[in-house]
């Protein structure tokens, strides 16, 4: 890990869902500025890992630190303001009365606190995020009527409008066509570098991770079973698939 400070530090995390273990003695260190890929089969605990980072799933035992803050009850609201989350594509009704610009502005609401309204800085941050993702022209369009790729870019813009230090993405290219997947991946890499973020991407797509990330870990049954740089990881996985 060198001398870099750890943005995400998980130490012996155990979680359970309805009594069944999900993460099991899970440990991970993500240095500041790294773009980490998390690969693995369904049920390996990849999405749970992101939810533990956000305090959405409390660990049964173990220690989690985000940007140096221990994930205890008092710190969770503060950590959530430093951490942006891009969930798996979710179902939004076509008629949902929310415009793309409003969705991006929602990324600012947590930082602003209760009883306050968006000010000039918030509008500037939301506008910059929309432009960075190339969706400024969609600002006044209903979010529900956008295409899958446009929605995904708006959701990533929402995360960036939050001005986070850590970006957590769960299957960001799920349900997109191949061309849109590649475009989103390039965009994630650019945004990660430009904003000096620490990013975790969870995906089933090994090529996507290998083309985008600095390091990839393989999760199985709630543990990390392999950790490689992208080219080695792709090679190992393809080798395993052929044997």
């Amino acid at each position: 890990m060198g001398s870099k400070v750890c943005a995400i530090l998980a130490d012996g995390i155990n979680t359970a869902y309805h009594g069944l273990p999900v993460l099991q003695r899970f440990s991970l260190q993500v240095p500041e500025g790294e773009l980490l890929g998390v690969f693995g089969p369904n049920g390996a605990g990849k999405s749970t890992l992101l939810k533990v980072c956000l305090g959405l799933v409390p660990p049964v035992s173990g220690n989690m630190r985000i940007c140096g803050y221990r994930m205890i009850r008092e710190n969770v609201p503060f950590v959530r303001k430093l951490t942006a989350y891009v969930p798996q594509s979710f179902d939004v009704d076509r008629r949902m009365p929310v415009m793309a610009a409003e969705v991006v502005m929602m990324g600012r609401f947590g930082r602003m606190g209760l009883f306050s309204r968006p000010g000039p800085n918030d509008h500037l941050a939301a506008g910059n995020a929309l432009d960075m993702l190339g969706v400024g022209h969609l600002a006044e369009r209903a979010f529900g009527r956008l295409s899958g790729g446009e929605k995904q870019r708006v959701i990533i813009a929402r995360g960036l409008a939050q001005e986070p230090r850590v970006l957590l993405m769960d299957e960001p290219t799920n349900s997109l066509d191949w061309e849109s997947q590649r475009r989103i991946c390039r965009l994630i890499r650019e945004v990660h570098t430009d904003r000096k973020l620490t990013t975790i991407i969870v995906s089933h797509d090994i090529d996507l991770l290998a083309d985008t990330c600095d390091r990839i870990v393989l999760m199985e049954q709630g543990c990390i079973v392999m950790e490689r740089d992208p080219s080695e990881f792709r090679h190992c996985c393809r080798g395993q698939a052929h044997s």
Binding site: Y85, P97, F109, G110
Partner: protein, 283 residues
């Protein structure tokens, strides 16, 4: 009609339908956009059962309706969040239990059941000053809360998990919405009735959902439709000498059908603008 306006009961009825229309339709916007209609149905039945309990115990029915509604909100929230059954199953159990309890209580209400049945169907022409005061207080509270927490509500309506992850107290907002939904049901019980109130919550909001472009305008359109439903139903009730609660719901359903037809027409017009393009490309 002008003669009727000189009667106190009619002035009360007009005010009550205005307040119930605004309150129910504003809560309806949240219920429709968050797709929690069944939670609201459960709560309206719990309120009805609570009011019947009050009649049997000789306590103010509004107080017992409020208590049972808040208890059911306290059960429904966690059940919808993290029940061991699917939310649909849990809500189905609560719904059938509260319905069963309501009819059981209805059967053991002593003496004539006029008051109890009045809670079921409601009668806006018999509301008194206290009912109007309660409706006004709930309407004011809901409008103030919507204004104060609009951005948090908007984020929760869009996606609760993302709202929570970005540092918004989404769970508190969701539970607050359930409690407000319960308060609205209880406040409208005498005027609209336990069985019908939920239609006034859903129909105007569902109509506004067809045509609104943003959440703020959806609240305004829904409130307008709610008040129109109330006043339209009241007018029809005077004209046809039929129960006001039922006619308010009929009127709100007609508004919904009109909005759905308008939305469908607008959509087909948009599509017909796109068709010549396609034809041109093919040619």
């Amino acid at each position: 009609m002008m003669d009727l306006l000189q009667d106190v009961f009619m002035r009360h009825a007009i005010l009550a339908t205005f307040l119930a229309g605004v309150t129910c339709s504003c809560i309806g916007v949240l219920v429709v956009t968050m797709r929690i209609s069944f939670i609201g149905v459960c709560m309206s039945h719990a309120a009805f059962a609570g009011a019947l309990l009050g009649i049997i115990l000789g306590v103010n029915p509004t107080v017992t309706a409020l208590l049972l509604t808040l208890v059911s909100a306290g059960i429904l929230g966690p059940l919808a969040d993290r029940g061991n059954f699917s939310p649909d199953t849990s809500l189905g159990i609560i719904f059938s239990s509260s319905l069963g309890m309501a009819f059981l209580l209805l059967s053991i209400v002593p003496g004539p059941k006029t008051e109890a049945l009045g809670l079921l169907w409601g009668n806006v022409l018999t509301v008194g000053r206290t009912d109007i005061f309660i409706l006004a207080a709930v309407a004011l509270a809901i409008v103030v809360l919507l204004r104060l927490f609009f951005k948090e509500i908007q984020a929760v309506v869009f996606n609760r998990e993302m709202a929570l992850a970005s540092g918004i107290p989404a769970t508190a907002v969701f539970y607050g919405i359930l409690v407000c939904s319960g308060l609205t049901t209880v406040a409208s019980l005498n005027a609209i009735g336990g069985l019908l109130v939920f239609s006034l919550i859903i129909n105007p909001a569902a109509a506004a959902y067809q045509i609104a472009s943003d959440l703020r305008s959806m609240f305004l359109i829904s409130a307008l439709f709610g008040v129109l439903s109330g006043w339209g139903g009241l007018w029809l009730s005077c004209l046809l000498n039929l129960p006001s609660g039922a006619l308010i719901i009929v009127f709100s359903t007609l508004i919904f059908l009109g909005a759905a037809a308008f939305s469908s027409l607008a959509r087909s017009r948009r599509n017909s603008v796109a068709v010549p393009y396609l034809k041109g490309e093919r040619e």
